[in-house]
Symmetry: C2
Subunit: 763 residues, 2 copies
């Protein structure tokens, strides 16, 4: 579809989800009411490490209202996948185990007629655990003589491998900036807790769960439970935020489904208030030893990152994936002679880490962009000039980064120049220290080519399917296995389909992830791929449908299909006024199987697959202006600017929302958020999140370099906001406080930390 024919793509159409969500008609898991549902409570370990010697459930089983208690014996052999750490490492972990390795690990499930009865009975379960030493923190875990989580490994290092040039930036260069950076362990915090309502009728296990990837959940539930795949149905509901936390299959899902199968009836479970911080995967928590080498002219010569990530108690199904992405995306938008990384994933007695918006990219952007600012400071050059001097040229595409990525499009310098023009700094004299920080990134989006995923060891493909159906009245339904968790995919896919089919936007309905209803989506709505990859499938399916309409109309109007165009609910002969036929007329005829040219199948429903031939590289440049109160260490973000390029925008208002939300999450990481563990392995119950009060005004400018890869020219944007924002804030604070700039390396940059560091330096 040429740009001039587009009516809906590019417009800020109101999100169709909002009427439902705002008026309380959202369909969330916990709102599902199945008559006769039992309620489950997952009993979790309160010790970080130990061997389960016994689990006496007799009292619980005898308690009023209890219908079932599930222990490790009942779930023997049920496993979920670990992201591959290497040939000597387990590929799966048990959903209930004889050894506990983190506070929050499931130990047993109590099922009762009411939630209260289940909670009361759970308190009666008597678990006897022989304690083993806690292992908290990378240094502890890697220290000689450290207690081992898996003694058979003889180390806590789960995986260790180089990528790119292992020697990068170790050779002689004029300037080498070498520092250690860390983004703290954080917890993705969707508004909606995780939840499951599972029902089994003896034939089908029907699972409603707040997931980003219903088919992924289905596939793994079937294997874990030993059910045929065609006996498991997983329905996504409205998902109240995912951010990566809901792309995983958790032991909880398997256990609640097991309870439903045993009960032959519905069982419901929702994350308890205390569960989330301990039992939902954490993220980030990686230490990067970064080395940036520059020549005398400030040209970037080499970059190397020694990445050590905390996997937690075992590899989640994301495994060391975020660490690898940190490594391969380390060059960002810049040119280096050589780039390299070492990747290590370490197990500790903490909650496993997994996916979170950005997936390794905020971490390495923090490292790279802080290194660049530090280099500029040391060289006495403007950090924006230093960046511009080293940026990849927009005209040289595709360009290989030296880390296995081939950037296809994007004008990074133009973005940064636009950003510099946008930034306005204030001049208030209030005793606070002010600074402006910049950060640039290239974002890997649109996971991804299935063959690349195979090469990278994933257990799923990266394509998307769509079925587009035009009903007899020319109303249109789009079916996709993707899910909506706030990103407006119902609206944007409708915009895409409406343009291709020449129908009003409100005639298009979008049906999202339900494994019984929608086509296969191997990995669902993750990795900034929903619109770019799923939209590609919708365009392909809608185009096939349009071609079929043209074929039928050409037969009817006795013209060539190439003479036809579609718009305003009609197919018409280009340039011949009045020579047209209504879509509803064609559609009725097609569904009746009447008046069709030879060989044309009745009906108007087309399925198409889109498997992107490459990743889609978006880019962004962020700037933050901060004011730091030296008396308290408090940081206020006074201004925030984004120039983002994620290719063609289907709905600019939705993209703005994605960027704003992501930036606020990045600010949260930079200033507030951290899951902390005591040395003896107990997680803190305290977690500080930014609110609307902490969210600055965010000015956004869009550049639109169309993707040469996707049919609609779109790229992913879901994670963009989070990737540069920690670094932009960190660089701004470093700019405001140059005397402690070399201490701005680890998040969160709390008032306490800044105040103490300033005080120490001034002492």
């Amino acid at each position: 579809m040429s740009a001039e024919k587009r009516r809906h793509v590019g417009s800020a159409a109101p999100r169709r989800e909002d009427a439902r969500l705002i008026t309380g008609r959202g369909r969330f898991v916990d709102g599902v009411r199945l008559p006769g549902s039992a309620h489950a409570v997952v009993l979790r370990s309160e010790v970080p490490h130990g061997r389960v010697r016994g689990c006496d459930v007799e009292k619980a089983r005898a308690a009023a209202g209890v219908v079932d208690v599930i222990t490790v014996e009942d779930a023997r052999g049920m496993e979920l996948p670990c992201g591959g750490l290497g040939p000597d490492r387990p590929t799966h972990y048990p959903v209930l185990a004889d050894t506990v390795r983190y506070v929050g690990q499931p130990i047993a499930v109590v099922v009762a007629e009411t939630a209260e009865a289940a909670h009361d009975a759970a308190a009666l379960v008597d678990v006897d655990i022989e304690p083993l030493p806690a292992v908290v923190g990378l240094e502890t875990a890697m220290a000689p003589g450290a207690a081992l989580l898996y003694p058979e490994w003889e180390t806590n290092v789960g995986t260790d491998f180089p990528l790119g040039d292992a020697e990068a930036a170790t050779t002689v260069a004029e300037h080498v900036v070498e520092m250690t950076f860390r983004l703290a362990r954080v917890a993705p915090r969707p508004i909606e807790p995780r939840g499951v309502v599972a029902d089994y009728d003896g034939e089908t296990l029907t699972v409603r769960t707040g997931t980003q990837a219903p088919h992924f959940v289905r596939d793994h539930l079937a294997v874990a439970l030993g059910l045929p795949v065609n006996a498991v149905r997983v329905l996504g509901c409205d998902v109240g935020g995912g951010f990566g936390a809901k792309e995983h299959v958790y032991p909880d899902e398997v256990l609640i489904c097991l309870a439903a199968v045993r009960l032959r009836g519905p069982v419901r479970w929702s994350e308890a208030p205390g569960d989330h911080l301990a039992a939902t995967l954490h993220a980030r928590d990686a230490t990067h030893r970064g080395r940036l080498a520059l020549d005398a002219d400030g040209r970037f010569v080499a970059l190397h990152c020694d990445i050590i990530g905390d996997l937690g108690a075992h590899a989640s199904n994301a495994g060391a994936g975020p660490l690898v992405v940190s490594a391969v995306m380390s060059p960002g938008p810049y040119r280096f002679d050589t780039v390299g990384a070492r990747v290590r994933g370490v197990v500790t007695t903490t909650t496993p880490t997994g996916s979170y918006r950005g997936f390794g990219q905020p971490e390495v952007t923090w490292t790279r962009e802080r290194l660049i600012d530090e280099a500029a400071r040391r060289l006495g050059v403007d950090p924006v000039d230093l960046r511009l001097r080293n940026m990849l040229d927009a005209h040289e595409r595709p360009v290989s980064t030296g880390m296995g990525q081939e950037y296809d499009s994007g004008d990074y310098a133009a973005g940064l120049r636009t950003l510099r023009d946008q930034v306005r700094s204030g001049h208030v004299e209030d005793g606070r220290r002010r600074g402006i920080g910049f950060s640039c990134h290239v974002e890997m989006t649109g996971v991804g080519p299935s063959m690349v995923m195979k090469a990278e060891g994933y257990l799923a493909g990266g394509f998307e399917n769509a079925v587009v159906r035009m009903e007899p009245d020319a109303s249109v339904t789009v079916h996709t296995g993707l899910t909506g968790m706030g990103q407006g995919i119902e609206t944007t896919l409708a915009q895409v389909a409406a343009d291709e089919l020449g129908v009003p936007l409100d005639h298009v309905r979008v049906v999202l992830g339900d494994t019984a209803v929608t086509p296969y989506s191997p990995i669902g709505s993750i990795a900034s791929r929903s619109l770019a990859v799923g939209g590609g499938a919708v365009i392909h399916a809608a185009t096939a449908l349009r071609d079929k309409l043209f074929t039928i109309a050409a037969h009817r109007l006795e013209v060539a299909p190439g003479d036809l165009e579609i718009a305003d609910g009609t197919v018409r002969v280009h340039g011949v006024p009045g020579a047209e036929v209504a879509l509803a007329d064609l559609a009725t005829s097609a569904w009746r199987g009447w008046d069709l040219p030879d060989g044309v199948r009745p009906g108007l429903d087309e399925q198409a697959t889109y498997d992107p031939p490459a990743y889609l590289y978006s880019s962004g440049a962020h700037a933050a202006a901060v004011a730091v109160d030296p008396l308290t260490g408090a940081v206020e973000i006074e201004g925030y600017w984004v120039v983002n390029d994620s290719g063609v925008l289907v709905n600019p208002a939705i993209v703005d929302g994605q960027l704003r939300g992501g930036v606020v999450q990045g600010i949260g990481m930079a200033l507030y958020e951290q899951v902390s563990y005591s040395p003896d392995g107990q997680p803190s119950a305290f977690y500080d999140l930014p609110t609307a009060v902490e969210a600055p005004n965010i000015d956004i400018v869009h550049h639109q370099t169309p993707s040469p890869v996707t049919p609609g020219g779109t790229k992913g944007v879901g994670e963009s906001g989070t990737i540069s924002s920690p670094a932009a804030v960190g660089n701004a604070i470093a700019a405001a406080l140059p005397e402690i700039a070399d201490r701005i390396t680890a998040t969160p940059l709390t008032p306490r930390f800044l105040h103490r560091t300033l005080t120490d330096r001034n002492r």
Copy 2:
């Protein structure tokens, strides 16, 4: 698939539906429990004909628990289709009307929080109807000066047209047997009453209803309610018998859906015990003046049927369809020089008539086969010999019947000879009179070619779709828009798919009619088409899937696809032991999008359409042995034999069940069943059905002449049992009581009728 490769097709696999149904886990509409459902009662006319002057619902509206009352004003403009009677006749009728024309016609709907409150409030509705004359019976309706249902027509004859040779059998022939026959008005009696649970959430109207045709219901509900088609979802449930009664869209469905839309919530309704006889469509009720002309040698020269059918108060969506089918199928398995018919449909102030197993074919078989027996009696020849002498030759195919039908296959004489060999008569001396009667028929099945349906004025096509999906573990799901109402379609489609895909039967799951989940089925499970047409679609889709598996396996094994075969869960190279790959391996690879040959789409799901190029003609020969007690007129059926040929049998046990059930319904028509009206238009509340006690042993022999039309060689069989059974029983009674043979013309042949007729004759 060649016969020798078939493992499941042809085997009497146990019906997979039965475990669910027998253990009380059937999913019937009335078992659907949606929280907060309101209950609806449809208030119906108690007068047969009149003008509604007023309908005071204020008291009802004010009654406790009442949430809504719907009257004609609220449903203004909502209509359902009439089967076309001709250019001057209405194409639609209103769901609520200002004129009532039958007892049972809906007048208003009361919706309340409980069923009791709705019933109580319905009694408070005050309807003022100005009475008009009742018009009951064809003679009354067609008499000069009759009261008119539609004065603008100036007649009660809704349609009147000739088919074939209007002069057939009026020319001079050696022998002409001319008699008037009638099958009484009967009511299809499924075990499960009709019911609807409708829910509207502001976006989607979700309708659960016991229907044979969910898409058909969806299409017509959308039009009636003015909703976009893509906003209406209709789910079939387990349907407890259909028999044609549940192929229609009734005003009740529209009204309950309207109530749900108005309420923005769930509303439930079930046929009240008194509703069924008045508010569910009746059937048969046609009078045939038949003329059979023979030459001196007993050769059939000509056949003419003057068919007058009682349409009831208006044409149902079946319209005059059963009358037309009577006419076109009048030749049966015999050769005539000329055949013709006149078809008239007449309106009366009675419940409209519609579809019922056989759809016009039991009626005309009664006429033709009684005529033949009467001719044999008059000519003094054996009725079986007379039939054999006039049967179409098996080798002469296709053969045109002179009534627009082209029979493609079937050896009718072989069937009748086999039947004659089967029949064993008893020789008990108990004062009862004994006789054996035969009947032969050809059955039109597998409706139908979409272009023929267009030509015949249907508003839908006759194709079927299937989606067949093989999951990563090689479990298979078949999706079809057809429904199961007892005919075992879940089992037989699974057998078909299992053979095509080389998987165990229990690895195949069949998902039936749900407009949100299953592909489009224009007219659903009617007209003996589910397996023949739907199975054709399944074979096409499964074949495409198998071809794809072969393509992938050939790439993997480096052989040509033509060298491969599929069985036992593997694809293997023909004649090369060990050269094979497991289906689950291929399927996993396909769903991941890995290792696929160029141009092969990821995934393993194929949709196919099958639009049969012609009707499929099954055939049957039935014999009944009866004993009639002359003292009481009581008839006992002492033996019953069927030779049936419906092509390739997928599941002989299921076909036996279909035949047995149909025969018992035919016996019910012959001996017991009648909806009778008083002259003033009030229906009798009494309806006599056969039970297991009245069901004889039924011996069945199958001939299997494969259909040259369908991919699996199957033909339809769902209606076969009902078509010849009334005539076989009638002929047996006539044979037992030759002195009143010429009075055996109208059903039901009750003891009272037989006793009186015998007594009159002997007087």
